[in-house]
């Protein structure tokens, strides 16, 4: 197993380098940079030109993009993510706590998504073609079709403005509630559909009929013999959906003012603060790759037929 994990990590390396290269290329094509974005319209043109030139030199922005790329790569390998031009402090300092915030948000959202989506899918499968199933799947379709930002605003409107259960700009743990609920409910929709179809497929298998023939009740059959296989299918989708979840978090964080890497990422792009942008993209890619690796490891743990070392 450890050999498998090592192999997977090595395979992730070219992916990360590729992502970095791509963002550097985009950067090279964009006509403005952090410095010009910062001074735009603030000082007279001559003063600006001087200051801009000085700062560009200091941050290496006057170099061609491939030189910047190699320099950046070498720094990252030494654990140095550079300095944010706009914030005037090391990127790693700013990103650390924000990444924890984002992980908290996506983690809680994922738990909400699993906690609501999986049981909903299982009940739908067990009560296939009843009003319960049709109702749950209609709600699910709504969840899949609804954009996260719209759903978030809707929740703010209902819970903060109409019902006034929580403040529009809450503090502390309450601040997590609405963004996590928004992301979680949106995530619950695809999970419920996957859980439903996987469970329906498994319930048709021979070993389920055999379990029924032994006098196991429907509840035991589902919980003991159909659920583990269903969870395998759900896990695969969680791995694939993790990117969506992170992407969704970018938007949700902006709407709810949650200080995570997403909210920072959107600002960083507006600032053309490439050291910051780069680090956020790197860390998101790393999280995505880790999530999928984790799913594959869990796979081997749940399904005895999966053996990665062979």
């Amino acid at each position: 197993m450890s050999r498998y994990i090592l192999r997977r990590l090595l395979m992730a390396l070219p992916v990360v380098v590729g992502i970095l290269l791509l963002t550097f290329l985009i950067q090279a094509v964009i006509p403005t940079d952090a410095v010009s974005a910062m001074y735009e319209g603030q000082v007279t043109e001559d003063e600006a030109a001087e200051a801009i030139a000085a700062m560009r030199e200091r941050y290496g922005l006057d170099q061609p993009w491939y030189v910047q790329f190699v320099r950046y790569g070498a720094n990252v390998l030494q654990g140095d993510f550079g300095e944010s031009i706009r914030l005037r402090r090391p990127v790693s300092e700013e990103i650390g706590y924000r990444f924890v915030n984002t992980l908290t948000l996506t983690g809680v959202a994922l738990l909400i998504g699993i906690g609501i989506g999986v049981p909903m899918g299982i009940i739908s499968a067990a009560k296939k073609d009843t009003w319960l199933d049709v109702g749950a799947m209609t709600v699910g379709l709504l969840g899949i079709s609804m954009p996260a930002f719209f759903f978030g605003l809707l929740l703010i409107l209902v819970f903060a403005v109409w019902l006034m259960w929580i403040p529009v700009v809450p503090r502390g743990g309450a601040a997590l509630l609405l963004p996590a609920l928004t992301l979680g409910l949106i995530e619950a929709a695809p999970l419920s559909r996957i859980a439903r179809s996987a469970m329906i497929e498994i319930l048709r298998r021979d070993h389920i009929r055999a379990a029924r023939s032994r006098g196991m009740g429907e509840f035991s059959v589902i919980m003991r013999h159909a659920l583990p296989g269903t969870l395998l299918a759900v896990m695969t989708v969680i791995g694939l959906q993790f990117g969506n979840l992170l992407g969704g978090a970018f938007i949700i964080e902006v709407i709810f003012g949650w200080r995570g890497i997403g909210e920072l990422g959107v600002k960083a792009i507006q600032w053309r603060d490439f050291a910051l942008t780069q680090a956020i993209i790197l860390i998101s890619a790393g999280a995505h790759i880790s999530a999928n690796l984790l799913v594959d490891i869990l796979y081997a743990w749940i399904d005895p037929r999966v053996d990665y070392d062979q």
């Binding site: 023939s213 006098g215 009740g217 013999h225």
Partner: protein, 334 residues
């Protein structure tokens, strides 16, 4: 002990419905081995599944009774049905490996009914599961109990299925083509194991098979099925020695049977009838070599009733028209 009366199971509804089991009457006595034989598509498996109400949609039991000790299984509430399954009547299937949960250790699967239904503790159930594995002839049962289904062979999987099915010592075991998916070399061992375990536990056995040779070897009585009906039913010694129905004769001629004096093997010409059409006469008439002899007009227009060539022997064929007719199934179960 078990009596099936007028059982009809069909798939779909209306004009396109397939009448897979089309009015079957059967009885099984305690401790006996009943063979149900017929070619593919004659309704044997559907009959076996119908007895335990394991038919999935779009299949559905539309008429009849399945009386176990006088109680109609088809009318049971879900709770009574689950209580019956596994404890009174158990079943094993054609595909043993697919019938085991791939994500669960073999020992846990045997221990499961003991724990959930037999009230054993986890440790007791596991110990008993290991014993049962040994009893069905699995070497190193303690080690094998920890194996997963993909790690064992088909023959071993069927042994495990037998161990699970007999764990709660049911009165009746229904074995649906238990050796069809197995290597020829393993088939005889599994059949012998079935016979031995059922004898030790006093369990009656319904053996569904397309192999009349297996019936000759294993069964006390045999029911021959054709197009969803039992066409001949009686003691194996009677029927295999002197079949009363032309279909049984054809089956016997088409397969090698141990101990029987046979000429060259011959197939039965033609194929099974379309089960979506209602039958106007004898279902076998179009393929029957004795049609002229039995009275072709009658064969085509009128389904033959059950005649009794001898006591305990029934045949649905106009050739036996001289014999007394079986009474329609009596209303009260004796």
């Amino acid at each position: 002990m078990l009596e099936v009366r007028g059982l009809r199971t069909q798939f779909g509804t209306g004009a396109g419905a397939v009448r897979a089991v089309n009015g079957v009457d059967l009885a099984i006595n305690p401790g006996e081995v009943l063979g149900i034989v017929g070619e593919s598509g004659c309704g044997k498996t559907v009959l076996a599944l119908s007895i335990l109400r394991l038919i999935d949609a779009p299949g559905r039991i539309v008429a009849g009774q399945v009386l176990f000790e006088g109680t109609d299984v088809l009318a049971m509430r879900p709770r009574a049905l689950t209580a019956l399954r596994g404890r009174d009547i158990a079943m094993i299937f054609q595909q043993p490996k697919a019938s085991l949960d791939p994500l669960m250790r073999i020992g846990s699967q045997i221990a499961e009914p003991l724990r959930l239904r037999g009230g054993r503790s986890r440790a007791e159930a596991w110990r008993e599961a290991v014993e049962l594995l040994g009893a069905v002839g699995i070497p190193n049962p303690e080690e094998k109990a920890r194996a997963y289904p993909h790690e064992i062979s088909g023959g071993q999987a069927q042994r495990v299925m037998i161990a699970i099915a007999l764990a709660l010592r049911p009165r009746l075991l229904i074995a649906d083509e238990p050796t069809t998916a197995l290597d020829v070399t393993v088939q005889a061992q599994i059949l012998e194991l079935l016979r031995e375990r059922c004898r030790v536990l006093g369990t009656a056995l319904v053996l569904v098979t397309h192999d009349i040779g297996v019936v000759a070897q294993m069964a006390d009585r045999v029911a021959v099925m054709y197009a969803g009906r039992v066409v001949e039913n009686g003691k194996v010694a009677d029927i295999l020695g002197q079949p009363a129905h032309p279909y049984t004769r054809g089956l016997l001629r088409s397969a090698p049977v141990m101990g029987a004096v046979q000429a060259r093997l011959r197939e039965i010409p033609g194929g099974i009838p379309d089960l979506t059409r209602p039958l106007s006469g004898c279902a076998f008439a179009p393929r029957c070599e004795a049609r002229q002899q039995a009275g072709a007009a009658r064969c085509d227009s009128q389904a033959p009733p059950s005649f009794l060539p001898r006591a305990g022997w029934q045949a649905r064929c106009w050739l036996q028209a001289g014999a007394p007719q079986a009474q329609p199934a009596p209303e009260a179960w004796a």
